[in-house]
Symmetry: D2
Subunit: 248 residues, 4 copies
């Protein structure tokens, strides 16, 4: 007897077995599915096709943090103060993955949902009239084109799984150019959001995959921080240049 | 001209290209390496072999959270109060990945490091004399054997990459049995820690891969929580059974 | 010489002195101002009057978490897994202080700002027409009145500092009753938000004081959790009742 | 009927009343106790005396973050990426309050506990022989004396509540000087830890008050960050000086 509302379809365990999404973890999953396939399975309840896996891998690879972004700096600074708690540093890094940076992944998927079969021109015009930016368009550095964008479209096409989100995002970029007379390239976060939605993920969940990708980037940066720490030195320089002493 | 101490080997970007560990992200990595290979590359600076990738995938698959563990419940409860911040719920879930649960991954790797070529019997005796548990041995539920353990050993052997950490962990379990007269199986977190160390990861970093695996599990649970929320109901039952009203 | 943009007005230190908001910490603040006065000073740059301090103290006292709310349960569960990191458990508890619970403090202040000298009836009508709840009105438990509300109004009046936010919130409640024919009492979070705004805090910052109050509640709960842990037991019951084994 | 293990002594609510530690929140606490007194009450179950309140206020005032410390920078960077989630930025700031900075508060209380009536000289000698630093002694900036230390001792003495922790910490500093021939002043975090322990707080909980103090400092810094942001600019300078472009 069990309480239905306390049941989860994600997984469970008995003394002998562990199951994930109804599959035997040791026999059916370990050594047989990749981590990327598992992440897909955990959310959607089915193992993705080879083409879907390749696209999801490419999305995750494209979203892992690379440079010393604000979230990476926050994670490194947190490790400076609490080197005993790697989970705290990773958590601090994820907490900055909000509306300004990674939010675009979700915003793009949400923006596209109601216009997949609808009036792209009207939607773009409405955003412009309201003075809002179109989610997924433009990048502060990659002004002439984000190198991740054509690559992700190519991978989706090679797998025959370019879907309505990816297609509509192209229409949105075209329409924006037509209405504004300005070319704003589709950015990597936007195309990632569209690809995740085409892969079947609810727009309310796509940010989770951006966080997963970001976690790998943070682990890389924190491993480097353990070897070549910059947190304390950056702090000391900030204090010095601001005219303060170090007052921990 | 640049300040060397502010350089990172993890990655960077110019207007035209994004590089990760010296490779062109769009051309050399997206569509060519899996997310698991990228995570390895980010930390170690090289792409793993096929056997290494399969073992790392299996480790990550084995460590993703399945049941309604305390960290999953914390994440779901956090989403109950702040549904607008998925990153906050994931972060809350990771914060519980400390010494009691996921710490074993790191503890096992650290415990094995000094005895890889050394005196296993003396190390086990010292822990026992100090009244400490041997990291990596025993599990509250899987008392007769954690199903993940033999599977991970088999995958390592199939790839020809069972290394000194995995081998020494077997010796530790044997030695513990000899000294105590009691059989404590090697648990899944312990074998994961040994495998990660054999894959070349610094024991101070292996917890990062446990966190990465856990993030996938948390995303799965939070996607389910959006569809079938249990956080609010669990709270209301706790309040009722504790004799309080709901007083948010 | 220093870089102006790296200067902070909050505080600094030299080998001999520590200053906070231009005051000598040891000589002018320690032993002379309360923690509540310091919190006010840190944000507004001046020491509050006695009446302001009493009102701010009452707001903070009213907002500290009392029962086993979702955020408290998340914090306790986090301590279960990571007892070595009290800061992680407190952080997990704060992360749930989002739109559902503590967001009301900020939402109320934001809602009132444009109608302080304006058309309350139109603003209430607009929210109702849009099917939105009026921030600050109604409580799931205190249906006939939140006991904190009249007390906070009384304290503000006794100090002669009932301001436009508190007054307008009363008008909003009246107007809602007139338009809907239903009485929704002003809740404690709403009146706290109005009081904080009347105390001169920017609506974008008032949530910070809710977080400060919540931190005190979390410290109390986590101190109790160390003595009388419920996290592990709650987890085990959830697993059992959901039909799973314990599979950490 | 209720489950005893799900009861909390911290507080609860009925439709009519809210109680905290057995007291009526609206009638007995709001307007009658300060936030500092409430924080004491929440943990210890009694309202502190006037002298205890003054000392606890001074401890909290002394520990609020002032300068642009690593934890403050982490919080500000987090707000840069997620301005919609003030709780995330505060949480990120608290996560760095680990062993390197705020840990001293707890470490000092723990170190003193077994030697309150014991052999200070032997304890100091043992730490020195093991090559460990004595908790609570020395400060990277305040080399000739932390200005908070004599002030906190004076406040404790004025209130007649200098207790065994504070007294023993003085003996420890003297003994260290005698054994090493070097004068290391008692730092502000150490004296805060001793004072909190003398106030009756369990050493395992004193870090919670450091976190509470830190939260006030973080709210001050985040309020300033909203007005005069430095997070994005610091990030851009780090990217530029490291030789990277901005690649969010």
């Amino acid at each position: 007897m069990s309480d239905e509302w306390l049941q989860t379809a994600i997984g469970g365990a008995t003394p002998d077995t562990i199951s994930v999404r109804g599959r035997n973890l040791a026999d059916e999953l370990m050594g047989r599915v990749t981590f990327t396939e598992l992440a897909f399975l955990l959310v959607q309840g089915r193992v993705p096709s080879a083409a879907e896996t390749r696209l999801l891998d490419a999305v995750l690879v494209s979203l892992a943090d690379h440079g010393l972004t604000p979230t990476v700096l926050a994670a490194r600074m947190t490790l400076t103060g609490a080197p005993e708690s790697l989970q705290g540093a990773v958590a601090a890094g994820l907490l900055g993955a909000g509306s300004v940076f990674l939010g675009v992944v979700e915003d793009t998927a949400r923006f596209l949902t109601p216009i997949l079969d609808g009036d792209v021109a009207a939607a773009v015009a409405a955003e412009r009239a309201a003075g809002r930016r179109i989610p997924g368009l433009g990048h502060p550095l990659h002004k002439d084109g984000d190198p991740r964008t054509p690559r992700l479209y190519a991978i989706a096409r090679e797998g025959g799984i370019e879907g309505p989100y990816l297609r509509t995002l192209l229409l949105v970029a075209d329409e924006h150019r037509r209405q504004s007379g300005r070319t704003l390239p589709i950015n990597g976060a936007g195309v990632a959001g569209a690809a995740l939605a085409d892969l079947g993920f609810d727009p309310r969940v796509v940010r989770g995959f951006a966080l997963l990708a970001r976690t790998a980037g943070l682990v890389g940066h924190l491993a480097e921080e353990r070897e070549r720490p910059l947190g304390m030195r950056l702090y000391l320089e900030v204090e010095r240049r601001g005219g303060h002493g170090a007052g921990a």
